[in-house]
Symmetry: C2
Subunit: 128 residues, 2 copies
DNA sequence: CGGTATCCTTATCGATACTG
DNA sequence: CAGTATCGATAAGGATACCG
């Protein structure tokens, strides 16, 4: 606070906001799942597809491309037949998972409270 | 559920995943902005609208309803003319912002690296 | 195997007119 | 002031055929 820079939260409302720029990317349906999967080690395209389960090839492809583009993951192609492509986390990707894990933990610890709040809200509307 | 159970990340792939259920809600375009704004204290509808700037009335209304429904914020109606409605954070909402702030800080600290990675990716595709 | 291109359906969102 | 209802544009997403 007292150091020169403003706190990060002070400019989340600015129009090209760097924080929103970053968070919007990983806030999508699939990025977190892919990252979690890769945390378990190197994975190939179809391994990821099977592990995540309900993701389409297109979305997996896009998500991987985005993550690679942002430097979260590394894509390695082996000149073999049949072709082999491996994905794994970069240091950046790994470092991202640190604060992310706290948020996941929070969600885990509070989802019951949240569900209860939703039910209560619904009940109030119905009963009122 | 958390006691003695597997780590939260172990069931992010399950179909009705509580973590995704929670994170999908606050991962939208506006929830975080509204929460950040309310962190500054009690706000009224049009105050939020002005502070966030580029949000439509409809989206603000929906976002507020979702956040209220999930127990992140409290909506207080005063029986006055003209009508006055105030929004503020609940304890749950406040507690959510703790891990969220770490993620925002991470995004703030790493957005340059990410932008550089994006540029490099683009350059590689163009130059290759 | 590891994707991309295409088609089509559905969800999202902004603008705005209207209500209490 | 504080929203809700309706409409239309657009983007996201799934299914799948096809390519290297």
């Amino acid at each position: 606070m007292s150091d020169g820079a403003a706190s990060p939260s002070s400019y989340v409302f600015e129009q090209p906001c760097p924080i929103r720029n970053v968070l919007d990317r990983i806030g999508d349906q699939w990025s977190l799942l892919v990252l979690q999967s890769l945390e378990g080690g190197t994975r190939r395209f179809n391994e990821l597809s099977r592990e995540i389960g309900d993701i389409s090839k297109q979305m997996l492809s896009r998500t991987l491309k985005h993550l690679e583009q942002d430097g979260f993951i590394r894509r390695t192609v082996y000149a073999e037949v049949p072709p082999r492509v491996e994905y794994n986390l970069t240091g950046l990707g790994r470092s991202f998972l640190v604060p992310m894990r706290d948020l996941v933990t929070w969600a885990d610890e509070n989802h019951r409270t949240i569900c209860a709040a939703r039910d209560e809200y619904t009940a109030r509307r119905a009963g009122a």
